[in-house]
């Protein structure tokens, strides 16, 4: 665990890079992809809080993302609510839902928990498809407005980049602080042994539900941001596949590492862009890369420095000897 100062330094360094990244990419299509990297970072960090710190698996994370997007979308497109207000409403409703289902669901362990969250995800997905009058059904919901602030409309990739990364940075800051607080230590205790944690006086059940709720609320906000950036949403974006993709981002990035989640999100969002040149083979290449990366970097992308630095040290030592 780094001290508070190195944590702050890390965060400032990261924010700085986020701030200047558009200088390198502006005008290119990558700007657009980076907007989605921001959204996926929020989602991955949120899932990592649950999975990497509290040790609770979720295969239904896309449902919270979708609920945020749909509540926001319907409230603005159909009922004319202001996007910001809609985002708040969505977060509140999703938070309540998560809190309510959290108690019974988080009683379950291991693969039963996986199954329960998966079931919840599928039920929500079916609801998006079937409530055609409300959601537009499988062909999607159109006419969702952009965010506005005063006279500024967030309708370009550049503006949305800063908007979304603002939220993503807040999510990261919140998570870093959370995991280094007393709550974070309690969470890790639950991860290692729930019974031991309970014996030590941690209210494990409530804490798990709270973290589940927080993770759902962050996902919901990401969903609202997605809806008002795309201005169109359809159920296909919130299915089981996306839940699995999020899980993959977290694991590939590194369990229990906030910045690892960013790396995982960035890699899995950018990868398809680079694989496009493979045409029909891209799906095979994607599967292969996924296997190889998990096999050879089981600690996740975030462990690369610790994997590389001994080698670097060796090289340095070698160079020193010869000199």
């Amino acid at each position: 665990m780094g001290s508070e100062r190195t944590n702050l330094l890390k965060f400032l360094l990261f924010s700085g890079s986020v701030l200047v990244a558009p200088v390198l990419f502006s005008g290119g299509y990558l700007m657009n992809v980076l907007v989605f990297v921001g959204i996926n970072t929020m989602l991955a960090v949120a899932l990592n809080l649950l999975l990497g710190y509290a040790g609770q698996i979720s295969l239904g994370q896309a449902a919270f993302f979708g609920l945020g997007a749909y509540i926001s979308g319907v409230a603005t497109a159909t009922y004319g609510l202001n996007p910001w207000a809609a985002m708040g409403c969505a977060a509140a409703i999703v938070g309540l839902i998560a809190f309510a289902i959290g108690f019974p669901i988080l009683k379950l362990k291991g693969h039963y928990l996986a199954m329960a969250t998966l079931g919840f995800g599928i039920i929500v997905y079916i609801a998006f498809n079937e409530t055609v009058e409300l959601t537009g059904g499988p062909s999607g919901l159109t006419g969702i407005p952009y965010f506005t602030a005063g006279t500024v409309q967030f309708d370009s990739d550049m503006k949305n980049y800063y908007l979304i990364w603002g939220f993503a940075l807040m999510t990261i800051l919140l998570s870093v602080n959370l995991v280094n607080s007393r709550i974070g230590r309690a969470l890790r205790a639950i991860h290692d042994s729930e019974v031991a944690a309970r014996v030590m006086g941690v209210n494990a059940r409530l804490l798990k539900v709270q973290i589940f709720t927080l993770s759902a609320v962050i996902s919901s906000v990401a969903g609202s941001l997605y809806a008002h950036t795309m201005t169109f949403i359809s159920p296909a974006s919130f299915g089981f596949n996306f839940s699995v993709e999020l899980l993959t981002m977290v694991v590939i990035g590194g369990l229990g590492s906030v910045y690892g989640s960013f790396l995982g999100a960035a890699l899995l969002t950018l990868l398809p862009e680079f694989l496009r040149t493979f045409q029909d083979y891209d799906i095979v290449a994607y599967g292969l890369l996924l296997i190889l990366m998990t096999m050879y970097m089981p600690g996740g992308l975030v462990r690369i420095p610790s994997f590389v630095s001994p080698i670097l040290a060796k090289i340095k030592a070698g160079v020193g000897k010869h000199a």
Partner: protein, 292 residues
């Protein structure tokens, strides 16, 4: 009305039998390795599509095509274990789960490149004239599905309870380290479990393909349903998972016929969630004391 309900139940049972077979495959691997193998559905696809391939492209007789398809699917399963699971014996289950997801994407992608994106049909094993049972109808193929499923369950039971390697595998599922200590080759048992479950998956794919047709992407949904069957059965590799699969099939069918076809999967899942919440240890298991 009653023959209508009978029809729903019969339809549900025949779909459910397939979920059971796939579910048992999930359970066998889970018990010997602790991995939820998300590539399980892809073996269902491989069984069906390879049988079609040998049948229509190489013009082999049906039996030969089926045997070849099962053998090749099993080979893919063994290869998968050898190349990815074995080198990572000490990795966490979650890492291994991600690898199985990668493998399912890879296998599906390869199938798409080799056999294309079209749907293909297989001929029924014996005739396509429906049989009438008390006002409800069945196809001869349904009888094949029930028969083969029953046969496989019986063989499975015999293997796990009466053969040395079956007993060794059960020992591994209870405690891998202890099994290793008494001289059981755990590595070999893991390999066996992958071989058996990929063979089971491909059989499920072959016997259903004449009814449901086959294409490179049929594995995803079937795999998911099989996974549910295994979980209702408490990840047992025996009767409990079979009952789980049948239950899921019947619930879906009754839901589609009597409540709402659009929400049929949701109905099935809501009932499953309720079961899980009321009995978190699975439907048929006695509550276990929690291991610290």
């Amino acid at each position: 009305m009653s023959h209508q309900i009978l029809q729903y139940i019969l339809s549900g049972l025949s779909t459910g039998a397939i979920y059971s077979l796939i579910g048992i495959g999930f359970a066998i691997i889970y018990n010997s390795t602790g991995i939820i193998n998300f590539a399980q559905g892809e073996f269902v696809m491989l069984g069906g599509i390879m049988t079609w391939f040998f049948l229509s492209v190489f013009q082999l007789p049906l039996i030969a095509a089926m045997v070849l398809a099962i053998a090749l699917s099993t080979a893919v399963g063994v290869l998968f274990e050898r190349l990815t699971i074995r080198p990572l014996r000490n990795a966490s289950p979650l890492i291994l789960v991600i690898i199985t997801i990668g493998a399912s994407i890879l296998i599906r992608g390869m199938a798409m490149l080799i056999w294309g994106k079209d749907t293909h049909s297989l001929p029924m094993f014996t005739g396509s004239e429906p049989l009438t049972v008390a006002g409800a109808t069945l196809l001869p193929q349904h009888l094949w599905i029930f028969g083969i499923t029953l046969f496989i369950i019986a063989v499975n039971r015999f293997y796990f309870h009466h053969s040395i390697s079956g007993k060794a595998m059960r020992a591994c599922s209870h405690n891998r380290r202890a099994a290793g200590l008494v001289g059981i080759d755990v590595k070999r048992m893991v390999l066996f479990s992958f071989a058996i479950s990929s063979a089971l998956g491909s059989v499920a794919g072959i016997i259903t393909a004449p009814l449901t047709m086959t294409s490179y992407d049929v594995g995803i949904m079937l795999g998911l349903k099989g996974f549910c069957a295994a979980i209702i059965g408490g990840m047992s590799s025996g009767i409990a998972t079979v009952v789980g699969g049948l239950l899921l099939g019947v619930l879906e069918s009754l839901g589609a016929g009597m409540v709402s076809s659009g929400y049929k999967d949701a109905i099935a899942f809501i009932i499953l969630l309720l079961i899980l919440v009321i009995r978190p240890q699975g439907l048929f298991k006695k509550a276990e004391t929690e291991r610290v």
